[in-house]
Symmetry: D2
């Protein structure tokens, strides 16, 4: 066992003071017609949790994992996979996610890398079968290797573009083989460091071509995996084309890809783009584009992706309310794209981070269900827009209003009545639930 000192984590209720227990996550409990497990679809990520060692731009790795000898061997890769599945079992959650290069070493040629990856995929398939754990999504790492320093799908060099395509092709295949429910595209190097050396139009066109090629190939091999683009604003590339949810949705509409891709939202990216934690999730959901969530959190005072476990119950409540309102995450899930702090060096910290993350979203789910069932806030909002349910307002929503009909209505109606937005009261009500 990789984590001999860690027990299976069990639900002990809100009074529990055992850090190795759940206070809110009770997997099979029914909330508004679904189990908590079905609502949350929690997922472990292979990169931060099994490859992250605490290095930062100013410091060396701090964490030693006893299941990882830090070699590039296949044996070591499999040991890390064993540890991941042990952790999945101990946390009692059902999904995992990976990049191709997290789970399998990079060889000296593409063919060699792919051969090793095939062997690892067989190993993962076997693990999935034994445990019942499923693959939420796979993705390709087109940002760590020096060949991608100037981009993958937007690299000025066509050979590198082709290399990126080859990795993407392989990921579509192995994801299909493993029954992955989504494929994710995060374009960390798709953007510019300097406008001086960049042809932004050509790069955006190439990115669109890349997405079209991926969609076509998915269809060709008979995969039905949902395709998801993950927005991020400014790291590692100064400007990334996938800045935020609305930018991605706009990009998809501009290039006619809006029927084929949805978005995977990471709230830490949302706040880096200058929006509230829940903004991109909300907007994507309301526009019909919310595919999945990387349920982490950032520090609003730091200018980079800190990938922390979310500890703010108000935020988890608002997110789970949106999830309930769209009837669940469907093929998506809540993926812990989170890491323990560099100073949290013990295996125990790794579990406590995840337990906290799981419990905080479970608590958010409970709160959100109660808010929806009480129907106090939603009723207030509905009432606020009531003038668009009838008369002139209705013609606006039906598309028959004109500036002239509006002017006629306005002159007749006279000065509009002032209506308080009552923000403080909404906030007070929300605070009753958290």
């Amino acid at each position: 066992m990789s984590f001999p000192q860690i027990p299976k984590i069990e639900y002990k209720g809100p009074e529990s003071t055992d850090p190795l227990s759940y206070r809110f996550y009770n997997k099979s409990e029914i909330i508004m017609g679904k189990t908590m497990e079905e609502w949350c679809r929690f997922s472990l990520c292979s990169w931060h949790t099994f490859r992250g060692k605490g290095a930062d731009p100013f410091g060396f790795p701090t964490m030693k994992r006893h299941f990882d000898d830090e070699s590039d061997s296949m044996e070591n890769a499999k040991r890390r996979i064993d540890a991941m599945f042990e952790m999945l079992m101990k946390l009692d959650i059902g999904y995992y996610t990976f990049h191709d290069r997290d789970v399998s070493p990079e060889g000296s040629t593409l063919e060699e890398s792919n051969k090793m990856l095939d062997e690892i995929v067989d190993y993962l398939a076997e693990k999935q079968k034994k445990t019942g754990v499923k693959l939420l999504w796979a993705t390709q790492n087109l940002f760590s290797h020096p060949r991608y320093m100037n981009g993958g799908a937007t690299n000025p060099d066509a050979t590198t573009f082709a290399y990126a395509c080859t990795q993407a092709k392989k990921v579509i295949e192995i994801n299909h083989k493993l029954g992955g429910e989504n494929v994710v595209y995060w374009g960390g190097r798709e953007g510019y460091q300097s406008v001086l050396n960049t042809d932004v139009k050509r790069e955006m066109d190439h990115m669109a071509a890349f997405f079209r090629m991926c969609r076509d190939y998915r269809d060709k091999i008979g995969s039905t995996a949902q395709l998801l683009i993950e927005p991020k604003p400014r790291e590692p590339t100064k400007h990334q084309y996938d800045y935020d949810a609305q930018t991605v949705i706009g990009f998809l509409c501009t290039y006619g890809l809006q029927g084929d891709f949805k978005v995977n939202i990471e709230p830490n990216h949302t706040t880096l783009a200058g929006h509230d934690y829940e903004h991109d999730i909300l907007v994507a959901s309301k526009l019909g584009f919310l595919g999945s969530i990387d349920c982490n959190s950032g520090d609003p005072l730091l200018g980079w992706d800190t990938d922390m476990f979310c500890t703010d119950i108000k935020k988890t409540t608002l997110v789970m309310k949106i999830v309930i309102e769209q009837g669940g995450l469907h093929a998506g899930g809540l993926n812990f794209d989170c890491k323990v702090r560099r100073e949290s060096t013990e295996d125990r910290d790794l579990f406590i981070g995840h337990i906290g993350g799981i419990d905080n979203f479970a608590r958010g789910l409970r709160n959100a269900a109660k808010i929806i069932q009480d129907n106090v806030m939603d009723n207030m909002v509905k009432e606020r827009y009531a003038t668009f349910d009838e008369g002139f307002g209705k013609t606006v929503e039906e598309g028959t209003a004109t500036l002239e009909s509006a002017a006629a209505f306005a002159v007749k109606a006279g000065e509009p009545e002032q209506k308080s937005g009552r923000q403080e009261e909404y906030e007070m009500i929300l605070n009753r639930y958290v």
Copy 2:
């Protein structure tokens, strides 16, 4: 005369140390086939320059203007217009812009407001005729009056929505009458302060309906004015739907309005959205959406719109390079949506601010022309993307590449050659021109 102490500003060349002279702006000098005047199409704004008095959230107005008795009378409105045209003549520039409520008082009813506005429009038409100055664009103020506190086109109340439509209708009419080349839509209150009390989907739908109604009415009355949306991220409303250029373009594509609207970019809004000064101008231009520019500048360390005159020659150079590359601003212009600092209380400061702004963009134009004519940087960029001009790269741009053809190419090509991005050299070259 409103500014008796200010002479007509003339071009005296780069050695001039007279603050009331141009060092770079030589109106009729030909640069790359057009006069400087034609490239720049400078425009005075009526709000900051003729209505702004230096108030800020912590302080009262500091500026007394001798042409403004601070009353709401029509006489006073006309005196301000006289001053504006005097300033246009003294600066020797050809365009101006206004909001309906800058130039004309708000009455106690819509009808009364419109009646006064009609009288002012006649006055403006007469002034235009006398001076040859033209209207770059008009716009409606849907953000200052308390009725718009919860939005204009996105107000939860249909009566207020109708009121906003009525102002917009009038502006389309008067702009047409005055030969305005554009109509601008800036949605300062179109967004949310709190997601708790907001139905974002309904509000975005209403905003799209409003834009459709405006387009239809423009067409109906036979106006050919270009319609422009001006993005802004977070002030005065915490989140605005028109966050930045790509968000607006995406919105237009989502709602099928992409053929009817372009964007008016204000760089201070761009930097507030977290992008480089020139980013929105660049992206909008390359995607075919750049309509006009509000040529101001912000302070990257302050979190609000400071609306300063741009003093950074590197930035004006990059902007004018984009303008030249798209063949000029066409119906758009460089509008000084800028204000002197609250402590710059003399009329002389008002002129010096504008002279600096004009000269800095003129200097940028001269630099940009030299960069383009030397063709050093652009050649370096072209060379950087050369692999997409032939072979596999060309099939990507033509749309015939597939992941399979890419993989075949990549395997054959082997590891891509590393190519330095040479950012420091590009920056060194740019510094030769500024």
Copy 3:
């Protein structure tokens, strides 16, 4: 009555859903040996609450208050004071704060202003006597009038400096007369907009001179009011000399004033300076400089002072924990330097904002007391530093260690044992209390 529709707000316990009740603030309930009232010392501010009308840089006032005819008359000033004391009674809290120019009109000369202020002070004294309400602090407004556009104590002009001194002198006097427990100095215009036109050394020297003169005068007239400087980083002046708590403390030490002034911390200013909400309160408290708190909150995504009521229970908990640990606020208090949103236009909103603010700090106090009494976290922290309680560590704290004694110890001790920081566990424990 100014607020006939608002009842006296009473404690109804955590299950209450009446927005016009307290769920957590039970004034006379004893927590850790003091009443909640004694711990919190809540205070109403006269400016936002009785002078703020919802204007912002893009919009006119939105709020009509029936007790305010918006004239500059003494009658109106007294009506506002009546409303303030009515609100104090209805909220059942014991302190208020004001700027000289909030409560009393500015006359056409200093003498006239002071004469009116004297009349108002008599009126306030009478009100205090009738109600038992006390003055937490008074302050001078040296930032709103145009004369202060270039600063008060740091104005380049000695006449304006003298004017500022005169207002400060009067405030020390009236504060003494009204039994005010502190005098506050907030230097909104004490800084620079541009280094180009500023002699920062001379300005800092003048600021120190001003503070010395204030201290001397306070002593001279026999006042024992605590003197407090309020830090703020970048608004309304681009750079303010009182940037944050440590900058102010450093300034005081540099100029030998550290025994005479403490700080009044406003967390919205702290976050604008780039620190965590509780940072300045913490650092000031630990260094012995925490005098009082303006208990508001900002929006981390907006770059200005939003002065919102604090709705984050985790933050109120951390603040009240610091307050308990230093044995209370002594002469200071929790002053609501907060305003309702511009769209919250009803009197009811004004009360709900304050009730929420009061309840959230009361809830924080309850949480903090429980954390301290359980002593789980503090014990963990104490244990973490235990090596400084003995041996070599103790010599460091006693001041007898040298680099040589350290080196001898280090060589003998060998590589230090790695100790996890356990941040996720601390966060998990904190979440049990909120």
Copy 4:
């Protein structure tokens, strides 16, 4: 030779288009009584330039240096030193800087590390002798090794504190041996990630103890090296005690160390702290604390230390103006704590980055001298404060003014005359020089 393809860089004047030449830096040219070399005192840093390989949090190293086999051997360490001195000769600049662990490997014990370091120091001494290059400063790396993850001088563990002291002791010794003119203290891990697990008071006390111990030891061994603390706000530790220049100066005053330490300012840290590029340099200089400058630059839109070469001539002009005004940098210098972008992978880029940096500060020096000699701006500033040169104003500066004397003066003087701050004119004048 490590850089066989790079010639010696020579001054060719402003018209040069050879990227491997100086356009502005003419080493022995006299500017205002000193050579450019004396004013600038340029220095190469060993870490970014000779150890940096382009890794970032999302990607592996991109740069291969032919003089570095990436081993930890002493031979490799010496090869890197050879390359550094070759580069110093080719750039023709006179200083270098290093951290102990940049230039020499870390052994398995302190003793072993120190033994290797001694050998390297001998090698450096020999190189210095051969080339005439001098050591600007040495410093200790107390942030990269995992033992320092919770801090060096502020580590909760006394053994780690002692380890940090031991490194600091050795650096004072070797710096003395090599004739280093300063020792620098940058406390990257001296702060907190979370207030929950931190005793900030104890940590600050320990930091002060550490500084005292360093000062005492420097004095004891007869070194006269200037001791410099380098402020930085939020990276790698969320909050660092040395936030900015004024915080450090305040800390020194609080703990009575103000006579023993100055500051080393890195402008990229200054902007991360929310101040203008030149702010900390200016304030430190005016308060008598400016010791040396790490002359890099950041990106105002990115939230971390990008350590770029400064390309903004206006900023280099303002910095060099401050340097001239304080009579030069004395023991300090302009140290290139800068790195080429990750995508700039060739040796040529490394030289071009430095040439650009050198030339931009040389250009700034030329501009600054001209501004000072023309004396237009400084005269305007002097005039602005003239009222403090006589009468009441003078009594303020002399310390004899009181609130009472101020009030008497103010009443007599009446309403102060309004004086424009003329910021736009100052900016226009500055633009004449850049």
